[in-house]
Assembly symmetry: C2
Homo-oligomer: 145 residues x 2
Amino acid sequence: MTRKTIQQRLVLEAAQRMRHPSAEEIYQAIVRKHPNISRGTVYRNLHNLTASDVLGRVLIPGGAERFDATTPPHYHAVCKLCGAVQDAALPYQDRMQDAAAACDGFVLEKHDIIFWGICKECATQIAAQKDQVEEERPAKPTSGG
Amino acid sequence: MTRKTIQQRLVLEAAQRMRHPSAEEIYQAIVRKHPNISRGTVYRNLHNLTASDVLGRVLIPGGAERFDATTPPHYHAVCKLCGAVQDAALPYQDRMQDAAAACDGFVLEKHDIIFWGICKECATQIAAQKDQVEEERPAKPTSGG
DNA sequence: TTCGGTGCAAATTTTTTGCATCTAC
DNA sequence: GTAGATGCAAAAAATTTGCACCGAA
């Protein structure tokens, strides 16, 4: 079906090297060494590779789609503040589809779980800012409210 | 914080009337009766309403973001062929975040599950097409493969 | 040789934003 | 009265597509 081209290999290898890259990040990684590759080709190859399940996709709100070369199925955690994506610690739940099989005639094939939260880095920043604000205040001790 | 405007109410009411509308569908529903409303306003209000958790969002690959006014948290099933979205039968798993809490410093707040499959309508169409093809063939009975 | 893939750039699609005006509080 | 919201239209961001040429099978 799809022919083996140099560009296809470049896209796959770039995706495998990176953590949860967007199409643009993959393009940028390749274009350094191969200045002639085009975004269109990267998008077309990413489409092929996800259609044949060689790559997975992770959906992020307010940003570009991301790709994932990790072979065993797994879940993701996304920071609601900075958009960082990382793999979740929860093991893949093989029985999840069985439990949801009553979905009105839907034939379920797989599932994704996305955990939303705040990553370590953002949590640290927030804590630092909060300290800052409290220093500026007049040490409000016991005002009921 | 956010003022109560006619447009805010229109966006919320439209979202509550529809199943899993996109921003464009909400805009189209409103603009019939209120021709002066703009897409920008619809987007701004959807942003406010999701930020304050009055509306939820469902992410669909290869298409626009969708919104969801169903109050209790729940999951979604998406047809990989036609993109149809419907609520999943699996009850919300309150303990899901506890199980994944080991995520390297992530403070988890909530989670989404998306089930991928083929909806009733698409499954019916595929079955019909398959029958069509087999009628056209020379009734291949027992050719070992 | 053939047909799918590529590069390029323009087109689409989806969402955001600048600015003058308006209005809820 | 004022700061936030709106309408409009242009811009930005993300992705797809048409077409002439190239190259894998």
